[in-house]
């Protein structure tokens, strides 16, 4: 389990004029079959989450105990049923909502905060940089899972606390990546040139810095989503996140874990969808990385 942003070393892609660059990225993505397939999978997961009530025939919270742990392929329950007889497909479809929400939200919030802090640290003077980066070092001293579990454990279970704890965990690595790319961009010739021609600091930040640090930060954030989904589902799995009977993949996996001797296939299903979704985000990040020509951390 890792936030793999150990000291990131990022090369800035050759600066290309705004529109041309994004068009180039789009063309490269369109030629990348793996990324296209992965994008289709992610789109499907999102559509399932949005239209869950339309594509399922059962109530996610109601089941008949007489119907419990029916195998895959049972008439009327094509993915079988769970430990209290609820339709598993319905539960998984509804579960994608909370799983995506708790997995994606921390990364979005952490990216907004982290990128701002990182850019400020990269552009600001030595004092600001030291202040921000050394504070982040302290957070880096905790293994990420440990910190998330400790914060969530103290704050108490629940969706809000889980999102909060994961956000805190993801801010430091985003700050590091953003600071590192900002420092590199700042020393490039075209920024000097802009300053020399009289552009204000605000203009340089807007046109030169942000335009050029956006791709690496975006690529890095996509790779974090995969980890975030695993961790969020993991917190629920431990009973620290979404509480039953709410449908969420991690807590479903935990509940079904007791049934591995009765119906192992059903018991493993929620984890399989976590794996597929997390892998899709990882591959998406890989695809974006090569399309945007970004070299990311090690």
């Amino acid at each position: 389990m890792s936030i793999t942003a150990a000291a990131p070393a990022i090369s800035i892609p050759a600066p290309v004029a705004g529109k041309g660059y994004w068009r180039l990225v789009g063309e490269r993505l369109a030629r990348d079959k793996v990324t296209l397939v992965v994008a289709a999978i992610l789109l499907a997961v999102i559509l399932v989450a949005i239209f869950a009530p339309l594509i399922t025939a059962h109530d996610p919270y109601v089941g008949r105990v007489a119907n419990r742990l029916k195998p895959i392929g049972t008439p009327n329950h094509w993915l079988g049923t769970d430990e209290v007889g609820r339709d598993l497909w319905t539960r998984l479809a509804y579960g994608s909502r909370l799983t995506l929400l708790t997995g994606v939200t921390p990364v979005i919030v952490a990216t907004l905060i982290g990128a701002t802090l990182g850019i400020v640290a990269g552009i600001g003077g030595r004092v600001v940089n030291t202040l921000v980066m050394r504070t982040m070092d302290v957070f880096y001293a905790f293994p990420s899972v440990l910190l998330a579990i400790a914060i969530c454990g103290v704050l108490g279970s629940g969706v809000r606390n889980m999102i909060l704890s994961l956000t805190i965990v993801f801010i430091p690595p985003v700050v590091r990546v953003s600071e590192s790319v900002t420092t590199q961009v700042r020393s490039l010739d075209f920024v000097e040139a802009a300053r020399a021609t009289g552009a204000s600091l605000a203009m340089v930040i807007r046109h030169q810095v942000i335009a050029n640090v956006l791709s690496p930060i975006l690529v890095y954030a996509t790779s974090l989503v995969s980890l975030s989904i695993i961790l969020a589902a993991g917190l629920s799995f431990l009973g620290l996140g979404v509480a039953p009977p709410n449908a969420e993949w991690g807590s479903m996996l935990n509940a079904l874990r007791q049934s591995i001797y009765v119906n192992p296939v059903n018991a493993a299903l929620p984890g399989l969808v976590i794996l597929i979704t997390s892998m899709a985000f990882n591959l998406m990040s890989d695809g974006l990385r090569s399309a945007m020509d970004v070299r990311l951390p090690r």
């Binding site: 389990m1 302290v138 990420s144 440990l146 995969s226 892998m279 090690r298």
Partner: protein
């Protein structure tokens, strides 16, 4: 080199202080009084005051912090509010149980990761590369608690080859074959993530180094493939080592989910128990000690890296 090491060691002091501050602050994250966690709301006032005094909660916050820090510095981690026993003994036993899994898992994961990454990198775009990369991405995308469940389903429920949960009869270091059988599944599961992460890094680094001029020069010089591989891997070592340090730390701190599935009495399970019992001293101590280890591991990796690669010492 010595100067670098010294500076690096000195630098960990403020980091450790920061870590202790956060771990201490954890209980004050809770809205209201930290005692609310320990006592039922209907507890009589005398009892509340008595406990307040016992745990020092009647003192100002900074005095509480320094008292706590002073005790932690000399190895006194306090007593569990649940069992009343010293946290230190519990933590030492739990941590050694975690190490029994983490060390072999790290060795296995790193060895497989380096092998897969190197094989993929040196055979770029062949089916070998694709297979190795597919294994690696599965490793990094796998929810390891699910991997644990699937391995139990396969090897315990269906095949009945290995025990599903628990530690062997000896406890602590494995002393019999039976002890070892209890370790196989958790170690294999824990090794998956470091395997994937290291493999991806090694592959990327090998590709990068292969594209540099000096490897072309080595080839031009007529060096045999084996020697070239040696040179490339030697150059790929420092970044891989940094990542291994981090990964080992994650194995210590992140084993909580896997330990839960395998019912392994390690530091993760201790922490899990502490959370559900609201046993703040145990939780605090686990966080501080694990982070302390994590900082030390990263420190030694940094120094070791600098010893290998003079460029880092600049």
């Amino acid at each position: 080199m010595l100067v670098y090491a010294l500076v690096r060691i000195l630098y960990t002091i403020p980091i450790l202080l920061g870590v202790s501050l956060i771990a201490f602050g954890l209980i004050h994250l809770v809205p209201g009084n930290p005692l609310d966690l320990l006592l039922p709301p209907e507890a009589p006032k005398e009892l509340v005051d008595q406990i307040k005094a016992k745990y020092g909660f009647d003192q100002p916050l900074y005095i509480q912090y320094f008292t706590w820090l002073g005790r932690v510095a000399v190895g006194d981690l306090g007593n569990s509010v649940f069992t009343g026993e010293p946290v230190r003994e519990q933590l030492i036993s739990a941590l050694s149980n975690t190490l029994v899994l983490a060390i072999p898992a790290a060795v296995l994961g790193f060895a497989l990761g380096i092998f897969l990454g190197a094989v993929a990198g040196f055979n770029r775009d062949t089916w070998i590369d694709k297979l190795a990369s597919a294994i690696a991405i599965t490793g990094v995308s796998m929810p390891h608690y699910w991997g644990a469940i699937v391995s139990v389903i396969l090897f315990s429920v269906i095949l009945n080859w290995l025990p599903a949960t628990g530690m062997g009869p000896s406890g602590g270091l494995p002393q019999s074959w039976e002890d070892v059988t209890h370790m196989i599944l958790p170690v294999a599961t824990l090794s998956l993530i470091p395997m994937g992460v290291i493999s991806r890094l090694v592959r990327a680094t090998v590709l990068e180094i292969n594209g540099q001029e000096f490897t072309a020069a080595l080839r031009g010089k007529g060096l045999r493939r084996k020697r070239i591989i040696y040179h490339v891997l030697k150059n790929a070592a420092p970044p891989a080592m940094a990542l291994m340090g981090l990964q080992f730390g994650y194995l210590l701190g992140g084993s909580i989910l896997v330990e839960t599935v395998y019912n392994w009495p390690g530091s993760g399970q201790l922490m899990n128990l502490a959370i559900f019992r609201r046993d703040i001293p145990v939780l605090q101590a686990t966080v501080v000690v694990l982070s302390f280890f994590f900082v030390l591991i990263n420190l030694s990796v940094d120094v070791l890296q600098a010893a290998i690669d003079p460029r880092i010492r600049r």
